[in-house]
Amino acid sequence: MSSSARTRMLRRAAAEIRPGMVVNLGIGLPTQVLAHVPANLPVCLHSENGIAGVGPVREGAAADRNLIDAGGAYVSTVPGASFCDSATSFAIVRGGRLDLTLLGAFEVAGNGDLANWIIPGQFTPGAGGAIELAQKARRVCVLTTHADKSGRSKIRKRCELPLTAPACVDRIVTDLAVCDVTAEGLVLTELADGVSVAQVLAATDADLIVPEGAIPTF
């Protein structure tokens, strides 16, 4: 993936964040979306280790030893931030107060199934907060490269890995396209600039519904 494709994907993901939302950015690619959120957007970033109102990353001498996000990065807070314990933090998630989460994926299926926490025999670190984020955020947007490093499509007919949560994903944003999980199936809704429908279809294992007419680009 080129640097410009990566930036385009991150910018497109940032556009998922709407004014007034409480948002949790998962570890990995989603965290990088932060740099593309407009400075003046009214939004509250949540971190599951007990922060509402996460601000920009802090490095070196500016870091506070007691202030990390759930990914372990030293962060700051914005004015009006608050801290809470881990039970209250997940009450925000499970209680319906988290409007959006952006999550990474190992695999995501056309029916919205998500696998992003375990690769049996290879990667078994525990789920952390992923299960609750995936299952309970009001809106779940997966942000991932369309293919894994070996070129295998991450957008699958069915997930083969153990699920994080079934039927939880609303939208998938990749370096190639935006796809929405609908009652009819997975729908191609946007194309990355310079990418063709045929390229996306070739890169996607899941069945993909291509709407008639022009498809918007990002």
Partner: protein
Amino acid sequence: MRLPDKTATMEAAIAAIPDGATIMLGGFGVPGTPFCLIRELVRQGQKDLTIIKNDANETGMGVDWLLEAGQVARLIASHIGLNSRAVRMMNAGEIEVEFAAQGILAERIRCAGSGLLGFVTDIGLGTRMARGKTEVTVEGRTGLLETALFADFALVHADRADHFGNLCYAAAARNFNPLIAMAARRTIAEVETVLPLGALAPEEVHTPGPFVDQVIALPELPEVYGVVQR
């Protein structure tokens, strides 16, 4: 990024409440009771309400205004002994009253606010509080299944808040307020002092802003908030 502004007017906030709504009210006795929001609810006159509150206040204040106006169909509480009208209306069948042990009421509200379905407790076993409840065995111990208690609206009274809805409560006025703030589809907070973002230290916030939908600054405190002279 900056945090959203949730300040609102009392009239508009209460106007969103329809007839038949389930409403949680903060407060244990006078401290923490949202008297101004209740007064506005009486003025607007929504009917057939289910009220969830620790107590029914005393005669002549708070919940009693709603009872007097005939707006309450059902009351879920732990103790209503200081309100003789509530007791009389219950005994006359004019309102339906459901009692819960005080800490179980608190916990059922928090359970809803935490996105859980219910919990299992041995509180009430061997008493009439167990009637009609499902028994569940947990690792060999028997308990009663208590269900999460949700509301459409939570009306909260806070001492201090910021525009994002971070709330701080004074002394024993905290009580049920942080719990009901979590458990409603919409949480409306009346606040004695509304401060700019950043004026509350992040460590001192009692109810984090994400739980709160609307913040209403109280222009003045009516006498009912004061020390009760008996």
